[in-house]
């Protein structure tokens, strides 16, 4: 399952983050690394992007980006 599949309020643990490249690096720079807990806070009014809480702060990313992040409940 991926981060995109989590509903607001659900929490998961990151397993892996997509394909090698600038996008992956950017996401990891922001603290999304394997083993870390993420909680989905909300979905934007127009359905995308989503807001997650990670390492104690709020980060937003698009569903297309969340789709690359494999998580487990």
């Amino acid at each position: 399952m991926t981060l995109k599949d989590l509903n607001p309020g659900q929490e998961g643990t990151v397993i892996s983050i997509g394909q090698k490249g600038p996008m992956k690096r950017r996401i990891m720079d922001m603290g999304v690394t394997p083993g870390i807990k993420v909680k989905v806070i909300k979905v934007a009014p127009l359905g995308d992007p989503i807001e997650i809480n990670i390492r104690g702060y709020e980060l937003s990313l698009r569903k297309a980006e969340a789709e690359n992040i494999v998580v487990e409940l």
């Binding site: 990891m28 934007a44 009014p45 937003s60 990313l61």
Partner: protein
Amino acid sequence: MNYTIALAGNPNSGKTTLFNELTGSRQHVGNWPGVTVDKKEGIYKKNRNVNIMDLPGTYSLSPYSEEEVIARNYIVNDRPDVVINIVDGTNIERNLYLTLQILETGIPTVIAINMMDEVEASGNKIDFNELSNLLGVQVLPIVARSGKGLDELMRAAVSVAEIKISPKILNVFDVNINSAVNSISEILEDEYMADSSSSVGTAAAQLQWKAIKVVENDQLVIDSLSGSQKIAVENIVKEAEKYADGDTEAKIADSRYRFISELVKGSVKKAKTGYVETKSDKLDKVLTNRVLALPIFAVIMYVLFACTFSENFLFIEGLASPGVWLAGVVEAAWGAVAEVIDGLVAGASPWVYSLVMDGIVEGIGAILGFIPLVLVLYILISILEDCGYMARIAFVMDRIFRKFGLSGRSFIPLLMGFGCGVPAVMATRTLDTEKDRRITTIITAFMPCGAKLPIFAMFVSIFFVNGNKTLITYSLYMLSIVVAIAVSLILNKLVYKSAASNFVMELPRYRVPTLKSVLIHGWEKVKGFAIKAGTVIFISTIIIWGLSNFNADSFNGVNAASNEDGSNMAEMDESFLASFGNVIAPVFKPLGFGEWRPAVGVVTGWIAKEMVVVTFAQLYDDDVSPEYLEEYFSQYDPEELEELGFEGGVYDEEAAFDIYSEAVLFEGADENALHSMKTDIKTDMAAYSYMVFNLLCMPCFAAVGAIKRELKTWRLTGGAVGIQMLTAYIVSFVIYTIGSILA
């Protein structure tokens, strides 16, 4: 001994607050051509030998976005004596990620944990001794907002600068990466030592940093290697990659965060573990609520404009908004100054009198009254920026912007463009992809910056006397956004077909902006304007006055012979400026304003957009000449004159202008008002078209300079300006043509 201290940290960690506290009023902050906005320099107010450099906020020193490259190049190439790394104590894990990378550069570092008041309020405890031990550098608590802990911080920074000790190398990476780093260091060493003039210790640290970057596959560093080095390191990098499951970059990022997790475990005691809902989160539930978010945004924008322009503030008939009220005060004050100046030059020769009164006083006065509007708007935008709402706007708008190939983050420079185009264009640097940066740079110029505001204010008050002034101005703002989006869509379709944008953005905590920071923003704007008025506008004013009052016959006696008073000044429509304007005017014929004076206004607008208003005030000054006013008021009997505001019902030349503008002009009472302006710009549609053209065409030269800095080449800059001109022409033409048919 002089020291340079660089402030580095994550965006929103409070660097600029710290910078302002440390430098006080000595800062050379400014967004003016020549002054770089990317790095701000100042002098420590308590020790003038200490230079302080404010670097752009960045999450990492990887070369993925422009501001990261700026911060990193400064730290690595310019090597400040000390880096003060500001860490947001409420978000310590992610902030320490940059810290580790700064320590890798080997520059002496002191860490300041900021926002300690909020940390304490949350009940978390940070063990500073333990953190210092683990990181090998001093770690100190501060509250930048209130100035707490800053003296101790600066003492520590200066003492570190004196002894110049590089931070120890931390054991962040695993065996495989470490051995790759060591092998690469050895390869780079020979050539490196030969051309490095710095001391041995520094060179070693630099070498280590470079080697890590090579292992990380950092393109900028790899490109700087010599051909033989590139070949030599290639196998080592490949080998390391095998151990890192094919992605060393990810492995390194992961190692750094693992190190931090251990670090934080040993030194930070959290009051609560897991997710804690803060006040900020509760507020956010409302502001980015599924149903309410867009209506709230629309209301906030409307309030922003109402505070600035509304003459019926809060829907109360006749109540001036703060902006309008302040504008009235400034205009009255300038009127008094103008009277004093008039008295001083009254006896001077006709051309001196004309230069001072028609040129300088009229010109400066024309824009002075609009500054309060700009000031109020700028302060409100800076409040939006400071409180954290800007990021939410981007979050809410992303879905829409994506349709046009941009990210919601592009909305932030666009909104800043409502204030001033120069910092707005620079803000495009924070965008992640080159496509986003380029397109946003081009479309930011369409935004109605504070300097375009006087144009709208003047036109609306002259041509749309009975219309809803706020609504007409609002329509221009909306138009700018629509055009920006449309142009972005077209560029996306035609130029950048494939490249995707992304939206990975921090949503900072809401904070109440400090009065101080808001006042600093406001003061900077006023100061920036005063400099602009005193230099560019002042000089241009004199040049325009000269070109509009003289022609070739001024210098051969022809004018002097024909003028009654013997002066050699020319009639304005025979002046140099008229000849020039007449050449370019036909171009604007299809847009509804193909006359020389409006054409000249467009050109002077490129010097600074306020110049459009200045130019109009100078070129149409006959429309409100004393002779005209006397003739106009002669139709009234004493009783009516008293009603209009003349004391005792007696016509008074001194008061005539003010009464005319307030009681007659803005009320639309004089059908012949501004007759020559209205012969040039005949219809409301032509006036609207003129505003639209000035809104969308090439921005002022200062902004073009900023665009050049972002786009790098003159070819791209020329392309951007070309797109802006073409867009302005097409949109004005369409609006004028369709509007005229409908009317």
